[in-house]
């Protein structure tokens, strides 16, 4: 990235605007298409999908449920019914294949809100961030399960911005717009990626799933990297890149093994040198046989 330039300029020059925004566009299409499926029923009377992101029924046969909501139900001392359990299992397996936080970057509607905040933050050149530990999300994840256990209720769903926005769009927002604005302002003024990258326990849960997921981004041609830092600038979890991109000397493989990589593909978009590509966890060829090296060398924030 040239001083004062914007990330991805080289990629646009080399490959053209559309190829340099391919995954960004695909993600927006994915987010809006899934939302569209939910909205087609109440808005147009086309009932392909019923319900919302917490649990849904597609074409009257396919149940899908959010495993984290089910985990809260378990924590509150209830056993969900078969339909919900089956739906949760399908979703669990799906994200174990495509990447846990694919939920965050390809499905979650709050992603559009926080990406907008991040975009504006960059345009307004807002520097400085409140010091939030990116481990806070795990604490929060533990806390919401603890509260569910103590109160015997799915308490987090009273305030969860993710499900609140989705349910709001499909069933009626009420004052949930205020929560959307709050998350936007939090990310804009309080801290970069404060919500999605530091606090959101839903993201933390899917990040844990992502540790074991199959599909992963790999710095497959990392020897071509010219240290332009474009990928670091756009990555919502930029601490995940370094071990893979700069790990050749330490014998670390090129595949980004952190569960917090959201598989958003933005690094693939903005790299003018085609360093990154989607692969699987099994193609981490130059990885040393010592397991766990990646995790240990991962730099957190």
């Amino acid at each position: 990235m040239e001083p004062g330039g914007r990330p991805g300029e080289e990629a646009i020059r080399v490959r053209g605007w559309f190829p340099a925004h391919r995954y960004l566009i695909l993600r927006r299409v994915s987010q809006l298409a899934i939302l569209g499926l939910f909205l087609a029923g109440p808005w147009l009377g086309i009932w392909i999908v019923k319900g919302n992101i917490a649990s849904s029924l597609t074409l009257g046969v396919l149940p899908l449920s959010d495993p984290l909501v089910l985990l809260q139900v378990f924590a509150s001392g209830h056993v969900p019914g078969t339909a919900a359990l089956l739906g949760g299992l399908i979703v669990l397996v799906f994200y174990l294949v495509v990447g846990g936080r694919v939920y965050c970057s390809w499905v979650c509607p709050v992603n559009i809100v926080t990406d907008s905040a991040e975009w504006l933050r960059r345009r307004l050149n807002l520097k400085g961030s409140a010091h939030l530990s990116d481990k806070s999300r795990y604490w929060l994840l533990g806390a919401i399960l603890l509260v569910a256990m103590v109160t015997g209720s799915v308490a987090w769903e009273l305030v969860n911005p993710v499900s609140m926005v989705y349910r709001g769009l499909v069933f009626g927002m009420g004052m949930a717009w205020g929560v959307v604005v709050a998350v936007f302002l939090l990310d804009l003024f309080v801290g970069r990626r404060a919500w999605c990258g530091h606090l959101c326990p839903v993201g933390a849960f899917y990040g844990l799933l992502g540790e074991a997921a199959v599909v992963r981004v790999s710095a497959i041609r990392r020897e071509h990297c010219d240290d332009c830092m474009d990928c670091f600038a756009v990555c919502p979890e930029h601490q995940v890149i370094r071990p893979a991109l700069k790990g050749a000397d330490k014998g670390v493989g090129p595949v980004i093994m952190s569960g917090h990589c959201t598989n958003c593909g933005r690094c693939i978009d903005v790299c003018g040198r085609d360093v990154f590509a989607f692969t699987t966890r099994f193609s981490n060829s130059s990885r040393q046989p010592v397991s766990g090296v990646n995790h240990k060398s991962e730099v957190s924030s």
């Binding site: 569910a148 305030v159 009420g174």
Partner: protein, 301 residues
């Protein structure tokens, strides 16, 4: 944390920073968890006009089992159910209805319960007549025109369990002296809480309202038994029957307890017919100065 703490306490600064950060995160998250817990406790207070769909047991356990997906809302053919929006008094995202707006039509196949993926709406509920969504209460006898001696009976007539959940109790109209009052009486053994009576009440503000059962229902002491019910159930009295009264009377006199009182020695005539339940006698005057009047008063001592 800007103060240089190197060597001040002999603690490794990295370790110190780690501990401070951890404690700060823990304190922040603890505060969030506490707030969430308190908020959850408050969210259990269901407003009196919010009625839960069929198959909901107690409110606290429902809030642990319901994942706020809205599938029950979608499968309600009469758009009775809605999900609580942010700002409503009902716990966010949970289904409810307000009887005065749209009551429950009590579908035979109970589609809302069938739609529930978690079993928060109890799948064991197969007959809608056994649902206990709430309980109708004649809340305002001052406004209900039946109590003024006017004919209405709308609640009685719209009741889906007509003649069982609401009956008409005929009482003497003291004001006119010659008419009957047709008093609606709700029976919790049959009332499902569907709210059709509240919806149909002709007053500007309904005099019969459906409330959550926890609000509407009183309870006898657990040890209470109603003698006459026990007697009917068992087919005979469960206590030792009273010994026949023995009187030490002058020759040729008889005494009929609870009947005609003191009389001369003719053979007893046929017993008098029982008092009519729908035409009670005028209230008796206070005690007369003649003690024999009291002794001879009908209806016993």
């Amino acid at each position: 944390m800007t103060r240089d703490t190197n060597n001040t306490r002999g603690m490794d600064p990295a370790r110190r920073r780690f501990l401070t950060d951890t404690l700060r995160t823990a304190a922040g998250v603890g505060l969030v968890a506490l707030t969430l817990g308190v908020y959850q406790r408050q969210a259990r207070a269901l407003p009196a006009t919010a009625i839960r769909p069929p198959g909901v047991g107690d409110e606290a356990s429902f809030q642990g089992a319901c994942i706020r997906c809205g599938l029950c809302v979608r499968d309600c053919p009469y758009n009775t159910l809605k999900l609580a929006e942010l700002g409503d008094e009902v716990a966010l995202g949970t289904p409810y209805f307000q009887a005065r707006d749209v009551p429950c039509e009590m579908c035979d196949d109970i589609p809302c319960v069938k739609a529930c993926p978690t079993g928060a709406l109890d799948p064991a509920l197969k007959e809608i007549d056994k649902a206990r969504m709430g309980l109708a209460v004649v809340v305002d006898q001052e406004s209900c025109i039946a109590f003024q001696g006017l004919r209405c009976e709308v609640c009685f007539n719209v009741c889906p369990i007509r003649g069982k959940a609401i009956t008409l109790n005929y009482q003497h109209n003291e004001r006119s002296g010659k008419h009957a009052l047709f008093i609606p009486v709700v029976h919790s053994k049959a009332c499902t809480g569907c709210g059709k009576c509240e919806k149909a009440c002709i007053l500007e503000e309904a005099a019969i309202k459906v409330f959550p059962i926890a609000l509407a229902k009183g309870m006898l002491g657990r040890h209470y038994r109603l003698g006459w019910e026990q007697k009917t159930e068992a087919g005979h009295a469960l206590v030792t029957p009273d010994a026949p009264h023995q009187y030490n009377l002058p020759e040729g006199m008889r005494y009929e307890h609870g009947g005609r009182g003191l009389m001369s020695g003719e053979p007893p005539p046929a017993p008098s017919p029982p008092p009519q339940p729908f035409a009670p006698e005028a209230p008796l005057p206070p005690f007369s100065s003649n003690p024999l009047d009291t002794l001879n008063r009908k209806g016993g001592l």
